[in-house]
């Protein structure tokens, strides 16, 4: 595991928040994922060694929580809310719009490597449905037109790189 020095110091700091090291499992997984982009195969063993656990204890956790990814994803992660309030206002169409824009399917990295589109469950912003999170940013009232607009923005940024 090749983590940035900042990540390592954050890891050491966050462990002090808890009376038992095991509690730091989720924080460590978040920090590793933020650093690497996903959780590489040696994550369980690394975290287990750090927190004095067995690797299976960590793997059980990684696979329980959908936000943890064991595989790399596209450069941007588009998470469309699938749940009722968003669906009532067209969430499924929004999702299809993103898939179409990036010629991809749910859960897959788009051919240009730019995005992964996923469905997620209720994001607690149902009053501004349909909602979409792109990486850490919440976007509200994302109808097909807005999905197109957001996609164009991503593509434009990709071009600049």
């Amino acid at each position: 595991m090749n983590l940035k020095p900042e990540t390592l110091s954050k890891i050491d700091e966050v462990i002090t928040h808890y009376p038992t090291k095991r509690s730091a499992t989720l924080p460590l997984l978040h920090l590793i994922q933020e650093d690497v982009g996903h959780l590489p195969p040696d994550t369980s063993e690394w975290v287990a060694a750090k927190l004095e656990l067995q690797p299976i204890n960590v793997l059980e956790v990684i696979t329980f929580y959908p936000m943890f990814r064991q595989k790399p994803i596209g450069r941007r992660h588009i998470k469309v809310c699938r749940t009722l309030s968003c669906a009532l206002l067209g969430g499924y169409k929004t999702c299809a719009a993103f898939e179409k824009e990036f010629h991809t399917h749910l859960g897959e990295v788009s051919p240009d490597g730019e995005v992964t589109v996923d469905f997620v469950e209720c994001l607690a912003s149902c009053g501004t449905a349909p909602v979409v999170m792109i990486d850490d940013e919440l976007h509200e009232k994302v109808d097909c037109a807005k999905a197109k607009q957001l996609s164009d923005q991503i593509k434009a940024e990709a071009k600049k790189r």
Partner: protein, 564 residues
Amino acid sequence: MIAPAKPDLVTVNIDGQEIAVPKGTNVIEAARLVNVDVPHYCYHPKLSVVGNCRMCLIEMGMPAVDPATKAPIMDPATGKQKINWIPRPQIGCGTNVSPGLHVKTTSPMVKDAREGVMEFLLINHPLDCPICDQAGECKLQEQATGYGRGYSRFVEQKNVKPKRTQLGPRVTLDDERCILCSRCIRFSKEIAQDDVLGFVDRGSYSTLTCYPGKKLENNYSLNTVDICPVGALTSTDFRFKMRVWFLKQTNAIDTESSVGANTLVWSREGTIYRITPRRNDEVNDTWLADSARVLYKAVKAADRLAATETIEVLVARAAALFKSTPGAIAVVGSARSTVEEQFFTRHLATALKASAQLVSRVGQGDKLLISADRNPNVRGALVTGLIKTLPAQQLTDLAAQIDAGKIKVVVAINEDLAAAGLTAAQLAKVSIVYLGAHANATSAAAKVVFPTLTVFEKSGTYVNQQFRIQKTLKAVPAAAGATDDLVVLAQLVAAAGGAALPAELGLLWKVIAAEVPALATMTFANLPETGLVLDATPYAALPFVEGETLHYKPAQPAVAAATA
């Protein structure tokens, strides 16, 4: 013997039967005491309670009292105190008794709940019972008959999960059959202390897994097979070999160490197919080491000894040796022999005016069911008076006496003298009478060889590290050409001029009871299945090698040899 402290008793009512049970008992165990079966999967008496299968749902109520005055509220219809029944079913495994607790296990609510759980467990189950080797021991199959709906309403696609995964050298997993009860995970974590199993993914897609790159290969892995309530975990060795309902079960003892774990030997027509644990809450709970389960392979081992001459001829030859060298005979007995054999060994030594010695075997204790003392019956030799001090690992004295020409004949019982430190030259210098089941350097060098029996072919007793005397019974007939150790020993005692001793256990125990004060009140037939603890105080000063294991704490810290 010291009587255990009387536990606090609580009176409960189960399906109308009143019973007093110790505080802290759960409803499943309390019901068991009145012969009421509460079906369950995830609950195991020796593991933590998680309450996840929901099969043990029962209806529960408490006697009604006036909230203000705490006075009982009576039911005019019955004249008894009214019972406030909780409107939802409760889990029997997670509910501990409290005074006055009322339980129904057959009410419509309970029946309905069980039916529901059974249906849910079966919808994603492959229903491949005809080819599943848990058949006959499958709790799912058993309870589906008792509580199931009998037909399927599930027309959707079943979940697909991995089949036939090798979790380790001895255990095979079929995830589609797994009902996610987590018994195997809890066993690995809590008992074997080898936390390698877990669930990955979530919900109905949760899948039992061994951590990739690790193996379920600890010496207790097969216990997971024993406790898996369905056919998800199976023994790779036993898979599909024999349907269990054909097999005869015999109570026996694990002779690997002084723990004396209780076992069941499963056999058919003279062949043993497997060994499983037999519950003894004072010794091994419900567990057994994997290594104990393969010991039966000694019965049909290629190096089994078989006699080519009759026992009379062999005894005559031994008698001739005894007569030729009076006063120059040594007896090497065994801490692997049964109490009865050790008793005969003592008689033989006395008749031959020889000193008797034993060979000690020490290994690393595993803190669970294998102790540092790898002999099953050192304490039996103490109790029968065969030895007074603990044996050494090497027969150094005997070697010196042989070198000095003071010993001319050695009677070796179940012990390989070469393994105990005698050189080939020393073996060549003496005439050896050997009793044993398998060939070794000693049998090769012996003048007279009596092929005897493995533990599975005979009955007898052993005294474990707790000074608990326990019975093992004959599971299969003696191999051709082998004779019961007791028969051989009785004849050797007679040949050495000793008293006539009966080789039949019932009669023999009368003699033992008469001669060994510690065993004065015992008979073989009356010895309880879980054994009997003898008074250990006479031996308190001896430096036993055992460290702590399950249900055993040494009186004094184990000597360095045990942990070295």
